[in-house]
Amino acid sequence: MGISVEGASKRFGDFQALNDVSIDVPDGSLTALLGPSGSGKSTLLRAIAGLETLDTGKVVISGQEVSKTPPQKREVGFVFQHYAAFKHMTVFGNVGFGLKIRKWDKQKISDRVHELLQLVQLDGLADRYPDQLSGGQRQRMALARALAVEPQVLLLDEPFGALDARVRKDLRTWLRHLHDEMHVTTIFVTHDQEEAMDVAEQLVVMNEGRVEQSGSADDLYDHPANEFVMSFVGEVNQLGESYVRPHDMDVVLEPDDRTEEAMVQRIVALGFEIRIEFVLGDGTEVWAQLTRAELQKLELREGQIAYLRPSQTKSFNGDSPSGDRGASTPLGAQDGGDAERSAAV
């Protein structure tokens, strides 16, 4: 069951927002649509909700094709980035809106609303108006409103995008727990790869209206299908044709035949993590991720010359967007041209 989209395309004037997109979201799962702005992720989510009509393709929810069904009959809960709170209604009125439309009787509405307010920890704020709430509270109200009608699927469009970092992190964890309790099939859109990996079980990476790759966070990180996924999911340095994760960049003080000379340009301490920015002989800028202890052992200073040895690189053949899996190539296990090329970074 769950949700599936088949061959979805959508064009806005000259802009191809979706280009033959197909995804499968298992029943009860929590899936993230991840991509830069303009990648089509929000359009896809809105098409599932019925807020956007597809030019071609179909949307299937719980085994039923709903491509032609208007949003009010799709039984989806939708949460907007900017809350879309009904400003003239109290929190109670907002959360109870869908139930009132469904003509529930007053007592039942009241019971259900209070149950939900408890769930989203807004108990006691039922009589407030949205402009008397903080951003995080408003978004929890919007979530309660979407959940009140017991939707088959829950769709969240950059739900934490308008919140500050601290609240965002709290709500993330909280959404994760909520999903564990409710098990409603959930899709959320985000451009933040850390958020996607933190919250979702399955990630769908989108770019320029297409799906680049989908899978678990580990899968995408360890076996990216192409350059785009590699650079979008996690940090990456590009060295000629190959790519290296900053934590796979060993920094040593003595050169050997697999190292490259580099000058330390800047050392950034981010708590436990240390980020060292280097510039290579040909002007390429790369960075390495070290722990504080590693840095202390190396005693590096800005302006100093050090040697870089990528312990693991990846290269992708051709430009095909949904192309072959990139070969995972631990350097030590390699020989011949590839090893030389990797070493000659």
Binding site: A49, G50, L51, P70, P71, Q72, K73, R74, V76, G77, F78, F80, H82, A84, A85, F86, K87, H88, F97, G98, I101, R102, A142, R145, A146, A148, V149
Partner: protein
Amino acid sequence: MSGTSTASRWGLRTLGLGYLLLLLLAPLVMIFYKAFEEGLAPPFEAITSADGLHALKLTLLMVVISVPLNTIFGVGCALLLVRHKWKGNGVIDAVINLPFAISPVVIGLSLYLLYGTDGWFGPALAEAGIKVLFSVPGMVLASIFVSLPFVVRETVPVLQEIGTEQEQAASTLGANAWQTFWRVTLPAIRWGVAYGVVLTTARVLGEFGAVTIVSGSITGETQTLPLFVEKQYANFNQAGAYGASILLAVLALATLLGMNLLKRKEDA
């Protein structure tokens, strides 16, 4: 705040207030003064005369018919302009402004030509026994015409400002278009609409040019309050003219005040 900016602020205030005082308030004060110059009785008698009361009733009738029609049309038209983008919108947008651009006298004349004995619709309507000119239907048409843009103009920017997300949220929560309009859209734009209604009412109350031409200004029959004022003044019954003027001003002020009270009650 520095001294110069304080001085310039006071200068601007004085200028603004002085301008308003001279142009708006002074004439109004004069009317009040003149009306009651010889006591309360003369203006009161003029207003409560049979013709005066008839003019008042007719004016209120114009309001009661034109304002709701223009409100429904105005909100619908604003929804069309803002929510349903299509090529014809530019034309509609321009046409709606016509009553602002054209002199009311010209509007009156054009209605006269259209519904007169030689006009396009005149003969056919006359045959059906409907008299448009020199009677209430023509006056209603004129009132609607001149006051048509207000609700549209006041509602369009508010609709644009609230955006579509609340409406989309309502639709995902199961509300159909009708329910979404009544429960979400209308409450969100209500003050824009209300302001449009107040302006429409004021315009209909005070309309003179277009109504004069289509009504013929027959005392006791097709005379609204503004026409009554003019007739009284022309007949050298100045107290009557001023009395009716004050009544008009009070009606318009009451509309404005009513809206403000409603708004304050809600904000409290």
